[in-house]
Structures are given as C-alpha cells and as structure tokens.
C-alpha cells in the first residue's frame, strides 16, 4: 500500500538506459508523429509551410496548450474539469466587455480576466473538495452555469473588433526572435507560442522538481497512500482546480485577442479539444501519470490536424471524425503498450 511508485509514474530518477527511456516516452513518439504529419502536409499542400499559416496554426495551438496544461494538472489528480470551455468563453467575453464599455486599461482588463478564471477554478475546487461532489458531476454543472453567466453578461449582444482598442488583435500575429540572414529567413516565434512555452516550462519544472509538484502525482496515483505519508490531498486537488481555472483564464484572454469578435457562445465545445489534447499527450485519465509537455504537444498535434485537413482538401465534416479516431488510437496504443510491458515483466519474473 505504500507509495511504491507504480511503473507508469515517471519519477525523476527512474532507472534504465537513457536512450530507451527517451524512445519509450510518449512525448518523443508523439513529437515524431507530429513531425511526420507536418512533413506529409508540407509535401502535399505547399500552403502549409508558409510563415503566415504556421503562425496561425501555432498561435491557436498555443491557446489550447495553455488550457491543456491546466486540464492536465486536474487529470493528474484523478479528477476532470469539463467546464474549461465555459471559463474560456466567459473570460474572453468579460475582458472584451470591460474594454468596450468601461475604457479600462488593457493590462488591467487582462488581469481581471485571469483573476476571474482563478475564481471560477476555485469555485470548482470548493465544490469538489469541500462539498465532495465528484468532479465530473461538479464541472458538468458549472459547464452550464458558467456558460449561463456568459449569456447573462452578453445579454444578447456581441463584441466586435472595432469595439476594442486599435490593434487589439495584433499580438496574435506578431512574432519574436525573427531574423533575416542572407537568403535564409526566419519569421520568428509567435508571441502566443513563447507564452505557452513559458507556461509549460514553469508548470513542468514545478511538477517535476518541487514537493508540491510530486504531490500532484502522489494524490493521483494513490490517494490513501498519499494521505498516509502526509500529503494533504484535498488541498492539492483544490490547487489543481484553481490553477486550471487560472490557466483557462489566460487562454480566455488570448482567445479574445486571437478572434477579436466574441459571442456568448464563443469556445463552446472546446473542452473536448482540450481534454483530447491532454489524453493524446499521454496523461492517464486514471490519474498519477503523464507530463504537461505531453499535453502541450498533444494540443499542437490536434491544432495541426485541424489546419491540415482543409489544406489537404479533406471536407470539414471529417474533422470531428478524425479527432475521435485520434483520441481512441492514442488511448488504445497506451493500453497495448501497457499490456505488452506487463507481459514482458511477467515473463522475466518466470525466468
């Protein structure tokens, strides 16, 4: 019963040759598949590898990735947050509304949006940890409650780009670190992507190298054992939901910048994409296993597919089908690998 780290928890000091560990890790395989798909696309659809298109794809994927990092934190603790799409939609709309109606300085509006996300996440956390409502029920409820708040704020109106400060949507297309050297040009990294990388790095490092970070894994893999060694699991779960809400708030702010035009129904159905990114990225829905880098790569992968299908002249109707197939293939591969490795382990034990 002690916390004898199940095999699928990647502790910092897991054994085995470096090469094997890298090859086996989900992040690397997924990145390889990602590159293969991108290469295929760039051959078949020349439009894919243009700077404009790449900025478009990666900037949107960055929004999903930031939300997916938050979702991954929650799923690591063996919970789920279905309400992220409503949080993103509500934050995006509220930020746009305060900018339109109250002439608030832009950074203050952004801070307000992120704060609102945090509050919504904390509300989820309170319902789950204090009132002990199973997270799937709690967030299914807040999914429609937060969306209702969005409709209340919108009151039948929408916010257009012209209502917002001049150039509000520009950061979505801006890049940094671009250079032009002889014939070789590099258009730079989109600001959104840099932001996503910073988020992934910060949360990833915290998960891997801090005590609180390890507690997320401990709670998710065996809550009782975690309690025995003194982990305050309810506090950890509350923290996960709060951070998830805050990151969804950041994603909501970025969503507003990216689209500029906002409706009360903005971002509906996005939870599926966010959770799909996390699952495809190798975070186990049973908790306790996975990394936020994987979740971010998963988001990039789904964003790539989203962008590629039209370029490859696949009708838009197929997109949902492909998403579903990707989710099922990803989790089935996981199960297959796990069964294989368990059999191999059993065989070596017999010998």
């Amino acid at each position: 019963m002690a916390l004898s780290a199940p095999a699928n928890v990647r502790a910092p000091s897991s054994a085995g040759p470096m090469i094997w560990r890298i090859a086996r890790s989900r992040e690397v395989t997924l990145a390889a598949v990602l590159i293969a798909v991108a290469a295929f696309a760039s051959v078949r659809a020349p439009n894919f590898l243009t700077a404009d298109n790449l900025v478009l794809v990666t900037a949107f994927a960055a929004i999903i990735a930031i939300a997916a990092v938050g979702e991954a934190l929650v799923i690591l603790t063996k919970n789920i947050d279905l309400s992220v799409e409503s949080t993103i939609g509500l934050v995006a709309f509220v930020v746009a509304t305060v900018l339109k109606q109250h002439d608030m300085p832009v950074p203050a509006a952004w801070a307000l949006g992120i704060g609102l996300g945090l509050v919504l996440g904390m509300a989820n956390g309170v319902i789950v940890t204090i009132f002990k409502v199973p997270s799937i029920v709690a967030t299914l409820g807040t999914l429609s409650v937060y969306r209702g708040l969005d409709f209340y704020v919108a009151n039948g109106h929408e916010v257009n780009l012209v209502d917002l400060p001049a150039g509000y949507s520009d950061p979505a297309h801006q890049t940094l670190l671009g250079f032009q050297f002889g014939g070789i040009g590099f258009s730079g990294i989109p600001i959104f992507v840099i932001l996503a990388i910073l988020v992934v790095a910060a949360v990833g490092m915290a998960l891997r190298y801090t005590v609180i970070g390890r507690q997320f894994y401990a709670v998710g893999s065996n809550a009782e054992a975690a309690a025995v060694i003194g982990v305050r699991s309810r506090l950890t779960v509350f923290l996960a939901f709060s951070l998830c809400g805050m990151l969804a708030g950041i994603a909501g702010v970025l969503w507003g910048i990216y689209f500029g035009t906002l409706y009360a129904s903005s971002a509906s159905g996005l939870s599926l994409q966010v959770i799909a990114a996390v699952v495809v990225g190798g975070v186990s829905i049973a908790g306790g296993s996975g990394t936020v880098i994987g979740a971010a790569i998963g988001a990039l992968f789904l964003g790539l597919i989203n962008n590629e299908l039209p370029l490859l002249k696949v009708p838009q109707e197929w997109l949902t089908l492909v998403y579903g197939a990707v989710i099922l293939v990803a989790i089935s591969t996981d199960a297959l690998i796990q069964v294989r490795s368990q059999r191999a382990k059993a065989r070596s034990r017999v010998r």
Partner: protein
C-alpha cells in the same frame, strides 16, 4: 457502531429492491427494537426519492402559481407541464439506459452523438428509398454496434469508459457529419411522425410518453427484480467480489453499453420523427441532460447505488422545472443554468445530510460513552 451501520446501509440496500418509491415504506425489516425501527422509518422517509417527490410537488405548485395553464386545459399541448414532459422523452429513455452503466461505475458520454448518427443514417436510408419500417431496425442495429464498440474498448482493453466514450462522442458525431454533411432530411411519412408528436388513439397520452413508461417498467423490473439487476449492482459495488461470485463482469458491462447505444439510437429515431427533420447537429448537448437526470434521480456517479424509480421521478421533476421556467419567461440558456445548479445541489444535499447524520451520531455516541475506557477486546455497544 453496528447499529449505525445497519441504520445507514439497510435502506440503501432495500432501495434497490423497493420499486414503489413514492410510498415511503419502512425499509428496515429486520429491526430488533423500537429505536431501530424508528430510525429505519426515519431513513425511509429521508430517502432521496421521497425528497425528489417533494421537490417535484413544490415545482408544480410554483408552476401553477406562475400560470393557471401550467396543468390545466390542453395538458399536452401548450407551453405547460405536459408539453414539457412529452418533449423530454428522448433524454428520459436515454437516462434509463444510462442508469445501469453509471451504477456499474462506467459512463457513456457518446449517447448524444449516437442520437445524431442514428438520425443521419435513418434520413439517408429514407432518401435512398428504403422505407422506415426497414430503416428503423437498421438504425437500432447501428446503435447496438456503436455500443458494442464502446463496450469492447472498455472491457477488452481495460480503457476508462470516460475517455473511450469521449472519443466516440467525437467519432459518432464525425460519422454523422460525414453521412449527412450540411444537408437535411425531412418530410417523413405522417403515420410515422405521428409517433413523434401524436397521441395513442382514443386517449390523451402521447406515444412517446407511453414508450417511456413501457421502457421504464421493463428497466425497473430487470434492474430490481431479476438476477441481471443483482449482477449489475454487485458489479457496481465491487468488481472483484462480483467476479469471484461468478458474475461475468466484462459481459455484463459490454451488454449494458450495447443497450445504451441501442436506446440512444431509438431516441434519435424519436427525435427525428418529432422534429420531422434530420440534421447533423440533432441531439447535441443532450448528454448533460441525460447525466443530470440520472444523478438527480439518486444514482451515485461513483457506482453501486441508484434506482430506476428515482430516475423516473427525476424525469418529471426536470420537465416540471423546465416548463415552469419557460412560463416564467426564462430563456433556454438560463434553463441550462438551472439544470446545472440542480445537478450540483442534488449531489451536495445528500452529502451534507450524510455528514450531518455522522455528526449527530458522533455527538450521541460521545454522550453515551462509558466512564472508563473499554478493556481491549471488549465489545462496545
């Protein structure tokens, strides 16, 4: 301590067997003394189904206060309770099939997409000239196959139902989009659409309500009075124990997913006939309502507990609330808020009640505690 456990557990177990939840019968048959039977009666009255009936009564009372038309003339037709009931029947029958799945600790999020897919297939077959008499059975088979796919992925490969059905939620909806595209099908023959919004000849009972009641009776009988139901509850309580007592756990779970897929496909048929049209977005967001009904009906989302009568009352409670809100001029977006809040509170309330009971018991016990500490091995009563 043993008395407490009896007081808590007895009604929960008996709840599985008692079908007539409206009649709060004292559930503790084996109580030995007066105090025990008093407590049994009390926890019988405090049963969730009874509370739900009270909520239903309050909502209906509120509805009649808003508008006298709520119950009165033309019961099934205007914007009133009856119309809302007959408009809820698709989600109602899906909630029946969702109940055994949740009781076994699984969940099926894909039902709403199966509603869309079955409608799309039905419409496409109809356009291709295949009559509905043949189309409907084909669609039911499609539903069963979809459910089988879910069930096999969950049981054979040991994948969590939540992710599998999240995947098929997208997969089935994608198939539906591919089959139907942006086109839509309508003008089904009137003898079939009559099933969607007509009445049983000679009565004022909508066909859909009759269908629901028949299905509810079947589900209730199977879940609470047959070995199949006992197996489902035993799987929900403890999978290993069920397996050791000879329950073929994987088979039961798969079967219930098949039933769920088939019922969802049937709900898709009803929806198509009631709207007299099939579009690729038929049934979106229904899963929220289906799960809400099940949980509101007292089904434990963690598995092991729940009753069909509870789910049936929950259907009517939800319909009553929706029509009351509609009469009060609340738009459908805000109705969803009410449903969401209801969902959360329907879990919080029994939770708080349980915590309160534990607290009360603890206080009572601390009063009763003997002056000296018990000798090791001594049984404290």
């Amino acid at each position: 301590m043993t008395n407490d456990q009896m007081g808590v557990n007895k009604p929960a177990d008996a709840s599985a067997a008692s079908a007539a939840a409206e009649a709060p019968m004292p559930a503790g048959g084996g109580s030995r003394n007066m105090a025990n039977s008093a407590r049994a009666i009390l926890s019988g009255v405090a049963r969730w189904e009874v509370l739900l009936v009270i909520i239903l009564a309050v909502v209906v009372w509120w509805g009649t206060r808003i508008s006298p038309n709520y119950i009165q003339p033309d019961f099934w037709n205007s914007l009133n309770f009856g119309a809302s009931v007959s408009g809820t029947m698709e989600v109602a029958i899906m909630a029946l099939a969702m109940t055994p799945i949740i009781i076994m600790g699984d969940i099926d999020l894909s039902v709403e997409s199966m509603v869309g897919l079955s409608g799309a297939v039905l419409g496409t077959l109809f356009v291709a000239g295949i009559p509905l008499q043949l189309g409907i059975p084909i669609v039911l088979v499609v539903g069963a196959l979809g459910g089988l796919f879910n069930g096999l992925l969950v049981t054979r490969w040991g994948l969590p139902a939540l992710v599998v059905t999240l995947g098929t939620l997208a997969l089935f909806r994608g198939l539906c989009n591919v089959v139907l595209g942006t086109s839509y099908v309508s003008n089904f023959p009137s003898n079939f659409t009559a099933f969607g919004f007509g009445y049983v000849p000679g009565t004022d009972v909508p066909w859909t309500l009759l269908t629901f009641l028949v299905l509810a009776a079947v589900f209730c009988a199977v879940m609470h009075y047959t070995w199949i139901g006992r197996q489902i509850f035993s799987v929900g309580k403890n999978k290993d124990a069920a397996r050791y007592s000879g329950v073929r756990v994987a088979r039961v779970r798969t079967a219930m997913f098949v039933v769920s897929g088939m019922v969802a496909a049937f709900a898709g048929v009803i929806l198509a006939l009631r709207y007299n049209s099939v579009r690729a977005d038929n049934g979106t967001n229904l899963t929220l309502v289906v799960v809400t009904i099940a949980v509101l009906g007292g089904v434990d989302i963690n598995g092991g507990k729940g009753t069909i009568p509870g789910v049936i009352i929950a259907v009517f409670t939800l319909a009553a609330l929706q029509s009351a809100l509609r009469l009060a001029g609340v738009s459908s977006e805000y109705q969803n808020v009410a449903i969401g809040l209801l969902l959360i509170f329907s879990v919080i309330t029994p939770q708080l009640a349980r915590q309160l009971r534990v607290l009360v018991d603890r206080i009572r016990q601390s009063r009763r505690r003997p002056a000296r500490d018990p000798v090791p091995g001594e049984v404290v009563r």
